[in-house]
Symmetry: C2
Subunit: 459 residues, 2 copies
């Protein structure tokens, strides 16, 4: 996957060299020669990835990085810090400033493309999850977490697959302060023997295993649905370029050369776990939004929008003509008085308890929704008129038979419900007609004394 890369370096020769390398692999390249210009370009052009030199006069790379990560409109853009080989501390400082990865000068092709491609792959996925509002901004309330910098690394779990016990133990030692749980697996059987692989935040896999093919293990982790998104960091002999290329091709997320530099390992492990947790956060948020879009937050029943879509499906021309579909419209009697007398909190308690009683009296094929306010709707497939009235009557009784306990009143209060029923028929053959017929029944129930079930359209 190609991408638009911004190269930031104060030395023209370095800029030109990186630009040529990247363009030869068909990346789209932007350049800046100081921090101030870089920030301007980032804000205007939104590159996919930033290669950022640390040592620059005026505003240095760390400061540029910090400013990018503090700005919610650009903080999602991954940054690779370019550090000098003899300044290992710069990596830590860079990651603390929010950088996503780092490269060491002089920059070699393979690490360059491996790092860039891995981050671009991640960014493409993240961009799909980062839904924006109509003006292109991230939704309010997410700003604090929009960017991975503020993600917590508590309770991180890492599985290390390495059959040299001494190395495995050394890795555990390095990660002591980073991960809460470090499990070891020697893959002696040729396979991963650890179970519950979905619990891990990161797999560290040796590509020099004696009994197993490390790349094969990586491939299995990547192709399994439960570990597809878990980052993999491989340990690889310096210079083993063929395997490194294969590893990146499979979808390995990161690598550390042997002999292992403890500081680098810790920095990379932190960065990978942070990326993973941010992605999990975005996925969870999307899932939650999806559910919220169809759910009423007070009662946890389906909302009116979902009810409407469901009815559209029932009457959709692609399906067979619906038969024996009944609908009940329920309205809590004198609900306004509950709110006015005992307060909204008590009103909500009545709505919750009411919803529970109704739901527990329905079959799994029925659909219960909050139509709005104190009105509820039940759709019952495979239900004829007689059975619909029987169910409606049972619902009416389940409400009035037992008073409702609310926090606003020492004594439980009496609640009743009026119910209108309708059924799909030759005449009653659209969503609107079915709802209107139930509404008429409900109106009649209200008019003639409440706490009763009425129907208008029944044959």
């Amino acid at each position: 996957m190609t991408a638009r890369v911004l190269v930031v370096d104060d030395v023209l020769h370095n800029v030109k060299l990186l630009e040529a390398k990247l363009r030869s692999e068909y990346f789209d390249v932007l350049t800046a020669m100081n921090g101030v210009d870089a920030l301007k370009i980032i804000e205007a052009e939104h590159p996919d990835i930033i290669l950022l030199d640390v040592m620059m006069p005026g505003m240095d790379g760390f400061e540029v990085c910090r400013r990018v990560k503090e700005n919610p409109t650009i903080s999602h853009i991954p940054i690779i810090m370019v550090t000098a080989l003899d300044q290992p501390k710069d990596r830590i400082t860079g990651l603390e400033a929010g950088a996503d990865d780092f490269l060491t000068k002089p920059i070699q092709d393979l690490p360059l493309f491996a790092r860039v491609k891995s981050l671009v792959r991640l960014k493409v996925l993240m961009d799909e999850l980062r839904v924006r509002d109509s003006t292109g901004k991230a939704f309010a309330g997410d700003a604090a977490l929009d960017g991975s910098a503020s993600i917590k690394l508590d309770d991180a779990k890492v599985l290390v697959i390495e059959d040299y016990e001494r190395v495995a133990n050394r890795i555990s030692g390095y990660l002591e302060d980073t991960a809460a749980q470090i499990d070891l697996d020697d893959a002696e059987s040729g396979e991963i023997t650890t179970s519950n692989l979905d619990q891990y935040d990161l797999f560290i896999i040796s590509l020099s295993l004696r009994q197993a093919d490390g790349l094969r293990l990586c491939s299995m982790i990547r192709s399994s649905e439960i570990t597809r998104h878990t980052p993999i960091l491989v340990l690889i002999d310096d210079g083993d370029n063929d395997r490194l290329i294969q590893a990146m091709e499979i979808g390995v997320t990161d690598y550390v050369n042997r002999p292992i530099d403890g500081n680098e390992l810790v920095a990379r492990v932190k960065s990978q776990i942070r990326h993973k947790r941010f992605a999990d956060y975005l996925r969870g948020k999307m899932q939650k939004n999806m559910e919220m879009a169809v759910t009423d937050s007070v009662t946890n029943l389906y909302n009116r929008h979902f009810l409407s879509t469901h009815l559209d499906n029932i009457f959709s021309s692609e399906n067979e003509k619906p038969t024996n579909v009944s609908l009940l419209m329920l309205d809590i009697d004198f609900f306004k008085i509950v709110n006015d007398t005992y307060g909204h909190a008590s009103g909500d308690e009545v709505l919750e308890e009411f919803s529970k009683r109704i739901s527990s009296n329905m079959r799994s094929i029925d659909l219960v929704a909050r139509y709005g306010g104190e009105e509820f709707t039940v759709i019952m497939p495979e239900t004829d008129a007689e059975f619909a009235l029987f169910i409606a009557e049972r619902l009416r009784r389940t409400i009035c038979d037992k008073p409702f306990e609310i926090s606003g009143s020492a004594e439980p209060i009496n609640i009743t419900v009026s119910i209108g029923a309708s059924i799909v028929s030759e005449e009653c053959n659209t969503k609107e007609k079915l709802l209107a017929a139930a509404d008429k029944g409900l109106y009649k129930a209200k008019e003639t004394g409440r706490n009763k079930v009425c129907n208008i359209s029944f044959p």
Copy 2:
């Protein structure tokens, strides 16, 4: 990116050969030797991609394909049909059965990996968008579109970048019945000169342009935000493997060898447009769900959940202490009577008009939400007590000064609103206290005659 591939073929030698090829590139491979077994494995294992032989005794490949695409729980899995070289019609039949791509026997490595990787890349993105409910099923109502087969290809727009006029015209001829609009660009300046590139469903790009580097054009399309997700099909000389590999690396979606086979081109174009439109549909749905999750469907105002999150942010410890934040709680007087007298449709009209009048009287920094039923909330930052009461009074008048037109009544009806106001202070320093204080003001307004503004907590 690796993946779990199911190979289906009735000839053991073919199965073994494909398995070996795929395993050598570290794909995870499942195999089946007839259609019935294949369907069982697909349902149980949910592979990422299916390589499906057409010619099998018993249930042939077309039938397997049809059954997969008809089953909503597996229809999202891409299928590559494997056809005989001398049966070009099979490609059309396969695509009509819902196949996503096809390969010709004998299968060569490069086309195999190019096709598989391109579809896996697409599937990984689609999987992110296909949010499921808690039971793992796709959300109800999407079943009809869950799978790309039913996506419509109407009004497809294609841009062909080819500087051999004769070839460009021939391509236009082939696509006459497939695309509604076919634009040509000869990239004579070395760049794409066509504007509004975001309108296209597909780019067809020659890799033998005389003035421009076709791969560079592909890279630019891929790295631009507006065309990032638009498929690219390249035209490439048969055997030009280096460029094909580079093209796939850049993220080109599909290719056709020269000399161009019209049937193959049409089949691939249809398939790419269908994929693109399905992805657009999923993205649009996610966007809509995101908006719905924070919006009240009747009034289009923010909903109570969003209001609550917004207040949490205001009082969050990470922000400075809020000062001069005022809150109004509005409740339409005697709204129940409107519903009971004129029906729910008229009630909704009142809510809509009410929302419009309130919103149009607020600043862009204020937040208006529907708290529930006929209750609304306004949050006003940078607003002191005096100004808050001024605004509240203006809102009260904008409601009572002009009667509301509703469909349930020939005469416009009079509507009034009671308003309680509160303001953040040393004592009133939590979400709950701020809401409760406004609630008390609202209660006092109701108690003392309605159609008025009251406050309790103001200094």
